[in-house]
Amino acid sequence: MRTILHIDFNSYFATVEQQANPRLRGKPVGVTGGDRFKRTVLGAASVEAKKFGVKTGMRIPEALKLCPRLILVKGDSYKYLESTKRFLNILKDYSPYVEVFSIDEVFLELRNFSWGPVRSQPQKCPRSLPFAAGSFWGAPLPATPAKNYPLSPLETALDIKRRISEEVGEWVKCSIGISYNRRMAKLAGSLYKPDGLVVIADEEGARFILDRVELDEICGIGFAIKKRLNNMGVFSFKDLRKVPLEALLASFKSYGKVLFDLSRGIDETSVLPFYEKEEVKSVGHRYTIDHDTKDLAEIKQVLLKLVELIAKRLRTKKLVGKTVSIWVRNAFKPHLRGEVIAKPVAHLGGEFAHPRGELGGGGFQGAGMQATIAFTDSGMEIFNGAWKSFLKIWDGSEIRMVGVSVSNLKPKNPENLTFLEDKLRIEKLTKIMDEVNNRYGDFTLQRGVLLGSRKVKRMPNPFLADYRFKI
């Protein structure tokens, strides 16, 4: 039987900031983005800020309204990456099967464990759930270590918590869920925060928990699926278990089987070790400008800078791509009374509404488009594709954010040397620019058109899209 630990840091970015600066400890802290921190949304809220109702993703004026004493801290992704690296270094001492789910969430699989008979003493009940006599949830796993692992799963979890405190920082806390599969481990880890430790030992224990949580509290059921289930008359996992597999397959196609299994606490997906992570599917960047703008020259500069960063990453990875996606987000627009809020459509566009916004409700209008170009890793070719799309989707209004990505990637094959002088010159120039920029920093050498443009710095995203940990 598998034993999986889900380790989730609590209010990660805010906690790391509090670890670095003890003057922030015990105070409501909101982590936000870079130099534009007055215009972006909160990337994280500390445990203290959450008590005021401040949430991740909230607009700053909205958060300050809820908590006027909120301390805004400029986020530093490299600090959080360092913390994650140290944490992964700890985990690799327990098992090689470590899956980095995001910058603050990891699955750890312990193999060769025999669970044996589960001791049935109850633990503290998270979120005041009634403890069902005889159920196994919350019971510690037996201490039956295999030869390779000196500690039982529960001891392992306690040891990980101790080492995080010692090696990452005493203020950094995590919640750990232990179970027999990934989804149940993640559910267990989400039940009690901060600094929780919950075990769901078997399917009976899983069903006990599932019957007491909302459908969308489990990884795999989001807003849209929950709504579709509600439309079918399914409002709980108990209801979901009553739906025949055939009916779920008819409504959700192959995902019906996932839902069928989910409601029973079944999940066959395995932990994907970080060193076997899937290949990169797209490379992209986005940038929130520090003011709303409709100045085409300024937008062009920002877009070209983003594209240059993308192209350099493609060249580093020896990849070429042919699908260029661009999306823009317009300036914040308050809703008028009675105005219908459009549903968000895809990551490429739609409207992002904040119904309780500072101005009594409003949102960000956005638009996006994809274009297909010849396979390339050239900044200028990607830019040309992106710019044509931008001009098609831009309605002339002020924008606050622009993003671009390149997908449909394939490895760059060695090419014959070109006899075209211009092409050869560009290739040589690009190679030299990359060498200089790798040595002295991005945009040390850049196109003349970018001189005097705003500073754009590459920061890793929290989902670590193409980041590889070397531990």
């Binding site: 790391v16 670890q19 670095a20 600066n21 003890p22 003057r23 801290v73 530093d76 490299y78 600090k79 990456l81 360092e82 913390s83 920082g169 920029n437 790798n438 040595r439 002295y440 920093g441 040390t444």
Partner: protein
Amino acid sequence: MLELSESINVWALFEKASVRPFVFIWNNRKIKIETINFVHTTHEGSALIYHFSVSAGGNFYKLGFDCSNLKWILEAVEDDS
């Protein structure tokens, strides 16, 4: 928090593969570091830079150490003033 980029003199211990600042001189004051709360690194091109988040006398300081030129920079200060 006040963000700076001020070159400073730091008394530091280089041992094995690590570096540890213990005193720095700023505004003609000798400041003894009490705790190193967090250390992380960044790259500026190929230059490796260590950032030390430290506490001294109830104040917070962020020191940067550029491995390429062995220079120390005071990057941020948060005190009661």
